[in-house]
């Protein structure tokens, strides 16, 4: 989802349409659905083999074999250290993600629906889009202290401008006919949000959250490295000082695997549910 990362709004229609066709293909032919999965598995296996081969050719403490990384992983799993730090990082990612999505969506809808407010606040958005993550983190720690609120807040502030830009685009693309229908039939404010506004913004929210999770977990590691005493970022900093590359890789890969799992087990089914009305052609 690189489109989302650059702050670009997605082309909803096209994105939705391509999602539709692949989903339909999956349903019609179960063996066709296996092909992409097998391709991914083969691709990852190939990467692992190249890694193992290269590490065997140039044996070095700075370039461990997959087996060595696996050993560290098993060991730290057994001691409970790895699950603890993974859990801490995951909690921070979740908190920062929720804060960024809620605040960014609200601001994005406001700016998208009020041209004058948008003209006034747009420079702020551009400014925050371009402040380096590191600067926000350092300033947050200096101003608010080395605590959890400053850490999560700094991460959220890094992500909010992206959400604002995407949701502002989505709000501008709202279809006024639905709002007029809701006005004539006197929908309540909550019903308008739930049945008229959010379903129309769903593709934009999905794009913002996809790119959001990827961006946020990377920034969380930096926050942990600079000012926390637990979490994957803290551990990586520790093993960097010990020059223990096997441990660094073990923690990184474990977290990447968890993020992939969240994407497959949580994000994609949720999205399929939210777009179920698109997938049944007339």
């Amino acid at each position: 989802m690189s489109a989302g990362e650059t702050g670009q709004a997605p082309d909803t229609r096209k994105g939705a349409a391509s999602g539709v066709t692949s989903a339909n293909a999956d349903r019609r032919n179960p063996s066709a659905a296996l092909v992409p999965t097998l391709t991914v598995a083969a691709s990852l296996l190939g990467l692992g083999l190249i890694w193992a081969f290269a590490a065997a050719l140039w044996p070095s403490r700075a370039f461990p074999t997959p087996a060595a990384v696996w050993q560290v992983f098993l060991h730290d799993m057994a001691t409970g250290e790895l699950p603890f730090h993974l859990g801490m990082t995951l909690l921070r990612v979740a908190a920062a993600f929720i804060v960024a999505m809620v605040v960014g969506t609200v601001i994005g809808i406001l700016l998208g629906s009020d041209r004058r407010a948008d003209r006034f606040f747009n420079p702020w958005v551009v400014l925050f889009l371009n402040v380096p993550a590191l600067v926000v983190i350092v300033l947050a720690y200096i101003w608010f202290g080395l605590n959890e609120v400053a850490a999560i807040g700094a991460v959220a502030v890094n992500k909010i401008p992206n959400v604002v830009v995407t949701l502002r685009e989505g709000t501008r693309a709202l279809d006024p006919r639905y709002a007029e229908m809701a006005a004539v039939y006197r929908f309540g404010p909550l019903e308008r949000v739930r049945h008229v506004l959010l379903p129309q913004l769903q593709p934009y929210i999905a794009a913002a959250s996809r790119s959001g999770i990827a961006l946020i977990w990377k920034i969380v590691l930096v926050v942990e490295l600079l000012g926390r005493s637990n979490g994957v970022g803290f551990q990586i900093y520790l093993y960097f000082q010990l020059f223990d590359v096997a441990a660094i890789l073990a923690y990184t890969l474990a977290f990447v695997a968890i993020m992939l799992l969240i994407e497959l087990a949580l994000v994609q089914p949720l999205e399929r549910h939210a777009t179920r009305w698109r997938r049944r052609p007339a």
């Binding site: 229908m181 004539v184 039939y185 929908f187 769903q202 009305w277 007339a282």
Partner: protein, 258 residues
């Protein structure tokens, strides 16, 4: 109220039950749009008419004369005009738009229920869906319906709210004629189950003659009323021969429309 009509020879033979309180009164002195260059384009001028309680009226006028603009003002979607409108007592309005305007992410039944006022939310919709031939489609999403079925769902939504007045904006446009004809009859059958004051906008004379008690004939832009045409014949007597006569007498009264 009808000072703008030069041809208001049809006296207002008010029905006994029709109190002025539950009729619709329209008196728009001016509605002007600004073009992109800032040039004022008058859409309505001295447009005044009344729809009596329980009456099915049609606003008939050439394309682009300001019919939809009038309807948007009546629906409260455009408040930038000079003049006054009086909605029937109760003020509960329902509309059937030019396009079905169903929420694509909600099922047919949810689309209807969401439009209902809170006290009616739990009501039994089965008779209405059956009258309109939608009983099997309640759980479908609008994208799974043909345009004709989607328009029926829009009719269901409007009638389910049990409105004090119903507005229809060319609800059968862009349908093939047999489908449109079937839908007109469906509209009449749900309407006669609970006769509601209704105002329909159309440029189709035959449609207006089939459906309405009274036709309000509008001028070219800027629109004002040039006369009324009452259809006193009960609707079930309006067969093709009678329709031909009705069309002829309409053109005798409004020769400029021929």
């Amino acid at each position: 109220m009808i000072h703008a009509s030069r041809d208001a020879d049809d006296e207002m033979d008010g029905q006994p039950s029709a109190g002025a309180r539950s009729s619709l009164g329209v008196d728009i002195s001016e509605k002007t749009f600004l073009s992109a260059d800032g040039v004022p384009l008058p859409a309505l001028r001295d447009l005044a008419f009344e729809v009596r309680a329980g009456e099915f009226a049609c606003l008939l006028g050439p394309s682009g004369c300001g019919k939809t603009t009038t309807l948007r003002i009546l629906l409260g979607l455009d408040r930038d005009f000079s003049g006054a409108i009086r909605l029937p007592e109760g003020g509960c309005i329902a509309a059937v738009f030019q396009e079905p305007t169903l929420l694509p992410w909600r099922s047919v039944e949810d689309n209807v229920r969401l439009a209902l006022p809170k006290p009616l939310r739990g009501k039994d919709l089965t008779p209405l869906f059956e009258t309109l031939g939608l009983a099997a489609m309640r759980k479908l999403f609008p994208s799974e319906l043909s345009l004709g079925l989607a328009r029926r769902a829009a009719l269901a939504r409007a009638f389910a709210t049990e409105p004090d007045i119903l507005f229809l904006d060319e609800p059968f446009v862009s349908l093939d004629e047999p489908t449109a004809e079937r839908l007109r009859h469906l509209l009449l059958s749900v309407w006669s189950e609970r006769p509601t004051t209704a105002l329909m906008v159309t440029h189709n004379l035959r449609e207006a003659l089939t459906l309405s008690d009274r036709i309000i004939v509008l001028s070219e832009r800027p629109a004002h009323v040039i006369g009324y045409f009452d259809v006193r014949l009960p609707r079930n007597y309006r067969n093709p021969t009678v329709m031909t006569d009705l069309v002829r007498s309409f053109y005798e009264k409004f020769p400029e429309r021929a």
